[in-house]
């Protein structure tokens, strides 16, 4: 029995360690702040209506908001620029090279056209 308890205790401790190691300070759930009283579902609904720039700003406000912005990004994942593959029209003249939007792919996934404005921002600094 003791061994079982010990091992259970151990896993708990290590999980806690993992969680506390993510952030240095202890998370605050303050009564007086307005969003702490809102359940995550409500916040998620709000964040669904925000764009990437807003989410970027929200993510560095608090631990809770950081966690929720990650969840809400699922709807339009912001990929790393080095995951993009840029393709050129095969005319050989690199000075006239042009990205054809239909040919911009993310490895393993093609983004929706609605996100093309975001894509342009990525690709502008590419190559």
């Amino acid at each position: 029995d003791l061994t079982v308890k010990a091992s259970v205790g151990e896993t708990c401790a290590s999980t806690c360690d993992c969680l506390t190691n993510v952030f240095k300070k202890q998370g605050i759930i303050a009564e007086e702040d307005h969003i702490s009283n809102l359940p995550d579902d409500c916040l998620l609904e709000i964040l669904k209506l925000c764009d990437h720039d807003d989410l970027d700003e929200l993510s560095c406000i608090s631990q809770r908001l950081y966690a929720i912005t990650i969840q809400s990004r699922k709807h339009a994942v912001k990929e790393r620029w080095n995951m993009l593959v840029k393709q050129f029209r095969p005319n050989g003249d690199r000075s006239k090279e042009e990205v054809t939007w239909s040919s911009v792919y993310c490895v393993g996934r093609q983004r929706k056209r609605a996100d093309i404005e975001d894509w342009k921002r990525y690709v502008r600094c590419f190559g």
């Binding site: 240095k24 609904e45 209506l49 925000c50 908001l65 590419f126």
Partner: protein, 167 residues
């Protein structure tokens, strides 16, 4: 026919059956208590307890419902060119929510969520999203009254993770 709703601070609101029906939660409770539009006795003898809603918030919710009781059920959504989804908030709703400070909007949103009134919930979430849009993180923190529990190093790390490559 009228329905009695009782808030957390024991305030009784008597509302039209149709208005009560706009809340999915209330509508479900009425079903569970065998209250029906045609059975006046059941409506008179029962009241619906709403322990998560206060008097002040309930009054606002009812005001919104009164205005929207004849609306067709609809979900208006628009996508702008950056892929940001927005709900269409009517002029009346904008005016209705305009004077609420942020804390009260959150209370109202909590109530709309609990009562499951989709239209009101969408209006408020869009209003809050509009308040956030285009603001810097410290402005948002001030608006939300949030005490930052991230260290400077963690903030920097998050900024690095989410940075656009042209920045």
């Amino acid at each position: 026919p009228n329905v009695k709703l009782v808030t957390s601070d024991n305030e009784e609101f008597v509302v039209d059956f149709r208005i009560a029906k706009m809340s999915v939660t209330v509508s479900r409770l009425m079903e569970a208590m065998n209250m029906s539009e045609t059975d006046d006795a059941s409506l008179l003898s029962n009241s619906i307890p709403l322990p998560n809603v206060t008097k002040a918030v309930m009054a606002r919710v009812i005001e919104w419902c009164e205005k929207h009781k004849n609306d067709e059920p609809k979900e208006e959504k628009e996508n702008d060119k950056r892929g940001r989804t927005t709900h269409v908030v009517s002029d009346w709703d904008k005016e209705f929510l305009k004077n609420d400070e942020f804390g009260r909007l959150c209370q109202l949103m909590g109530a709309a969520n609990y009562l499951e009134i989709k239209g009101l919930f969408n209006d408020i979430s869009q209003t809050i999203a509009n308040m956030i849009h285009g603001k810097k993180s410290d402005e948002i923190a001030e608006m939300f009254n949030i005490h930052c529990d991230l260290t400077e190093a963690e903030k920097k790390e998050i900024r690095k993770k989410t940075a656009w490559c042209e920045d």
